[in-house]
Symmetry: C2
Subunit: 216 residues, 2 copies
Amino acid sequence: MKRSKVSNNVIRRLPRYLRKLDELTEAGISRISSSDMGQQLGLTPSQIRQDLSCFGGFGQQGYGYSVPALREQIAAILGMDRGYRAILIGVGNIGHALIDNFCFSDWGVTLSAAFDVKSELIGSSLNGTAIYSMDELERYLEENPVDIAVLTVPKDAALPVTERLIAAGIDAIWNFTNIELTGPDSDVLVENIHFSDSLLSLSYYISERRDEQQTK
Amino acid sequence: MKRSKVSNNVIRRLPRYLRKLDELTEAGISRISSSDMGQQLGLTPSQIRQDLSCFGGFGQQGYGYSVPALREQIAAILGMDRGYRAILIGVGNIGHALIDNFCFSDWGVTLSAAFDVKSELIGSSLNGTAIYSMDELERYLEENPVDIAVLTVPKDAALPVTERLIAAGIDAIWNFTNIELTGPDSDVLVENIHFSDSLLSLSYYISERRDEQQTK
């Protein structure tokens, strides 16, 4: 796929477009204008047109977007059709929740194995995903293609496990540990889930609203 | 606090600044220039100066920022000093993980109670947080000040529980359910944690990198 450098803000909006298109599909809607889509997403129509034009023009003047065609194109841009394979490290509460409830395959990703240090988990399987010993990590990575490591270990284990993953050739980590894994010079792609960032944004918006109400 | 309208992108960066300042504090660093901070966060110094100037100028030319002073100011901007109180609805894996491992008080929020429908959980407590029956929700909200509802219920329960929360006067929801709770016209502040958005962004960046490597 030909790519020009696209801003992170645009990239971050693509999954939202995808979710919206899935909702529209479920509601039986097969065509949508940029203004309707904008209204439903809290964006301006021109922003939507501009975002999508980064990847080549979709949509037709006066017709709008075909929901299934746009959905397919955005899914391809996001790499959902590339068959990425993931392993999960650390089957605590969060790891457990992801294996049980997060449907990796809905997003084009296959969760192929999980790893933990707890002997009572090793050898069992959860929602069809086998749990291996951390001792088997390097051997597993040698023998199986893995694109993404989902890191759900306790904080103390985050950096040592990351070192092992990188040494074993992993170059993309989905990080749930709240620990900064890499400096800006590293070659590893790290996508952080920072729960606190989200809570603090909410805290900001609550504060903003209360301040506005007080000055009314 | 006097507030001018600040762009969402700036607001979303404030928690990252806060985390960085906490790291610096832990490392015993009490002063930092905008260029050092920029380098560590992957932002330009001018972007940092511009972001912080939205809230009144901090920092001094040639001196940089005082880490503790800036930390305190950003915490105040984010509302961390306002004593917000939260309840959590749904003690499944994610709810459990949040109660056990997410330190709400680190972010200025008190988690005061949890609610569930499972009889084996009701009346027990987890990491100091009492678990009540969902039947007691309205009474609890009448008797206790609550600013934020953390929604960690199964998908099917998301909308009915949200209706109950709104009817009981809750106007800020931290939503882990992956269900869109409100239209753009609603008065309720909803902050969504969409795991899939994060995974798809990572999938995009992996795809971008692989495409670049192929064209080399």
